[in-house]
């Protein structure tokens, strides 16, 4: 068996009387993009939070590259897991530059390396350097989201979690960001776990998918299986 980047082994999570998952086993292959699909309330976000240790499993275990999550040094472990959320979560009191470089500064990278990484990320995201001295509220939604991604990728984490990152963006902006994500994945391949409720978005970007359905077993498969599933799924509902 080849080593999976992220694996949940027989995980139960939620509350004793109201489980979100029971005995869930999912694997995420290295450097592949996997979309998590499902209706709202089916535990898509909880799945991400299990992976970065924000939620502890009641049963089972979470493995990163074959090793169990170490909850005693979870803050340090999270440095290798990028995290992007819908409303960017950019810190309003920090400039764009400080937001992006935050993790690099915490990791005490040398100045030269910080600047090189900053410029590289800004370049790939096609963000003008004039934005660096601005504050988040002065940027457009699309710009903010790119900055959020740059921030999450600063330490070049092998895993990137994305929680409906583009839900609030309009079509054109979304299209531009998708192509940015593809370029990014070619330049720096990593394991991406992407929560969305948008099937089209998923078909557009993912290699694999996991379809969660509350109280039922999850369905997992390749991208090409997604279309046929969508047809039956929409016919059913």
């Amino acid at each position: 068996m080849k080593s999976e980047a992220v694996a949940l082994a027989s995980v139960s999570a939620g509350y004793e009387d109201q489980l979100v998952f029971s005995d869930l086993t999912v694997e995420f292959s290295k450097n592949q993009t996997t979309c998590i699909l499902g209706r709202s309330g089916c535990g898509k976000s909880t799945l991400l939070q299990l992976i970065n240790g924000m939620v502890h499993p009641l049963k089972g275990s979470v493995l990163l590259f074959g090793k169990g999550l170490d909850y005693s040094r979870i803050a340090h472990q999270r440095l290798s897991i990028g995290y992007v959320v819908q409303h960017t979560g950019l810190f309003p009191h920090l400039t764009i530059q400080r937001n992006i470089m935050l993790l690099g500064q915490i990791a005490a990278l040398p100045k030269l390396q910080l600047e090189r990484r900053l410029n590289h990320l800004m370049d790939m995201a096609q963000l003008p350097t004039s934005l660096l001295t601005r504050f988040p509220h002065q940027l457009s939604g699309g710009e903010q989201q790119r900055v959020g991604i740059c921030r999450a990728l600063f330490l070049n984490p092998p895993i990137l979690l994305m929680d409906e990152p583009f839900a609030s963006l309009d079509g054109t902006t979304k299209e531009a960001i998708f192509s940015y994500m593809r370029t990014l994945q070619e330049a720096e391949p990593r394991t991406i776990i992407w929560v969305t409720h948008d099937w089209e978005e998923a078909e557009n970007l993912c290699d694999h998918f996991v379809l969660l359905d509350k109280g039922k077993d999850s369905v997992q498969g390749q991208r090409d299986e997604l279309r046929s599933l969508r047809v039956t799924n929409s016919a059913r509902s």
Binding site: M54, A75, Y83, G89, L94, F135
Partner: protein
């Protein structure tokens, strides 16, 4: 922050430097004559080459004596009758040497040669009212139970005061209690008919009032003397002794009247008197009012800022601690809240038995007052940080300390700053009361003004302290503009 600590250090060092060398700390009881006599002692000592720290405004006998016993002052003018009855709790009429022996045995204190005049308690009436009813002695009052009597607070409480006087003469009045400084007003306006007074009060001559003769010899002798610590060097006591036998009762009445009606400062009255008796050499440069005022303002700011700084140093970490351990929140905020409800004057009075008088107890009291607003705003500020930022910070991999220092504290800053601002403004106001326990500052004018019923003096303290409070408010607005980003500034920062 560093600048503020530096400022406090400089202020602290100045204070320490000031108290070094042979400094004699002269106390004063809280009334005209007390101030004048203390000024005389202070100027005699200064003329003798000593550095003098004036700790005036010590309230009544209890505070002044407690300050002397605790070593917060070295000497103050007192009266033999008060020493015998109030301090030693013995009968009046003891000789100076007998008093000295008892004082030395019980408290290691001494009294000097008497100054030459007596200031005994007596009862006083408007002369026209007294004449119309032909009242000349205290005994005569028994025939006029309809007269209204108003007595000073101190007189109603003393051994040689109202309680025993009433028994001694068989009087049947039900007196009002009022501030001594206001009793003359009340007497002249016909609000009361009889009051207690000191026989050297300046008003007696000025208003033509009648002192009622103590025909059954109730009031003990009140020779004015200096009460001082036994440990004082002999050179110092010999300087004090110069005042022995040089002031007569009429001279004292005249000096008191000067202070009262010509608004001459105690300093210059004492100065002129000592010069006229050739007891000191003339000093040309006396401090101007402006110079004195700026000194008081500096003192006032020092009290306020040192206390504020200490509160910040304690309340910020405590607030952060409570934020992380909310189960302590209730009890700690409760204790700080209770502190706030203690009336300022009561909290200051409570400090006297614990840490004596002066700046330290005042700073401690102000420290407690500033604690709650800073503590509460630190906690609410941190709790009020948008939860999604806290969550994102954790999810990114920031540990607790990094999350606190990089995200939570900066975002809570406007609220924390508003708490410090509230505390600063409260402290500027409360610091005026600190003068009651000898801490100085602008309250000195107010307290002295109240004692002398002198509006001009009250305003000299009240107006600058009001301006100071406004200035403090503006200063913090400026600070906020500099340290808080514009888009994070709150519309209404006054969380109180």
């Amino acid at each position: 922050m560093t600048r503020a600590i530096g400022l406090a250090l400089i202020l602290g060092l100045t204070l320490t430097a000031y108290s070094q060398g042979t400094t004699i700390r002269v106390g004063a009881k809280h009334f005209n004559e007390g101030y004048i006599l203390s000024e005389m002692l202070a100027q005699l000592l200064e003329d003798g080459g000593y550095k003098v720290e004036r700790k005036f405004n010590l309230g009544g006998t209890a505070v002044a004596f407690e300050a002397l016993r605790a070593g917060a002052i070295d000497l103050y003018p007192e009266y033999t009758g008060t020493v015998a009855l109030e301090i030693l709790k013995m009968e009046a009429g003891l000789s100076t040497s007998a008093l000295n022996k008892e004082l030395l045995d019980q408290y290691s204190l001494k009294i000097s040669t008497p100054y030459g005049f007596q200031n005994s308690y007596s009862l006083l009436m408007d002369s026209s009212v007294a004449a119309s009813r032909s009242i000349a002695t205290i005994s005569d009052l028994t025939q006029h139970p309809d007269l209204r009597m108003g007595l000073s607070y101190e007189f109603t409480k003393r051994e040689d005061g109202w309680g025993n006087l009433k028994k001694h003469y068989g009087l049947s009045f039900d007196p009002l209690s009022l501030e001594h400084g206001l009793a003359y007003e009340a007497l002249r306006n016909g609000k009361i008919d009889v009051t207690d007074a000191y026989s050297t009060d300046g008003e007696i001559r000025k208003y033509g009032l009648r002192l009622l003769r103590d025909d059954r010899r109730f009031f003990p002798e009140y020779e004015a003397v200096t009460l001082y610590r036994n440990g004082l060097p002999e050179e110092v006591t010999s300087v004090i002794a110069k005042l022995g036998g040089v002031i007569s009762e009429t001279e004292m009445q005249r000096l008191n009247a000067h202070a009262l009606f010509e608004k001459q400062s105690h300093k210059s009255i004492a100065h002129e008197f000592l010069i006229s008796k050739s007891l000191i050499r003339p000093v040309t440069a006396t401090n101007s009012v402006g110079y004195e005022l700026s000194g008081k303002i500096a003192e006032h700011l020092m009290l306020t800022l040192v206390a504020l700084l200490c509160s910040i140093i304690v309340a910020l970490p405590l607030g952060i601690f409570i934020y992380y351990k909310p189960r302590f929140a209730y009890s700690i905020v409760y204790v700080a809240g209770v502190m706030q409800t203690i009336p300022s004057i009561a909290l200051l009075a409570l400090m006297i038995p614990l840490v004596g008088i002066g700046k330290l107890p005042a700073i401690i009291a102000l420290f407690f007052y500033a604690l709650l607003p800073i503590l509460r705003n630190t906690i609410t500020g941190l709790q009020g940080v948008e939860p999604s930022y806290k969550k994102v910070a954790s999810a990114m991999g920031l540990n607790t300390w990094q999350r606190l220092s990089i995200i939570e504290i900066p975002l809570a800053k406007p609220t924390i700053l508003a708490g410090i601002r509230t505390a600063a403004v409260i402290n500027v106001g409360t610091a005026t009361l600190a003068a009651f326990i000898g801490a100085g500052g602008l309250g000195d004018y107010i307290v002295t003004g109240l004692a002398l019923n002198n509006t001009e003096l009250i305003l000299r303290g009240a107006i600058p302290s009001a301006l100071l409070a406004i200035g403090m408010e503006l200063l913090f607005e400026l600070i906020e503009r500099f340290v808080v980003l514009k888009h994070l500034q709150q519309q209404n920062t006054g969380v109180s």
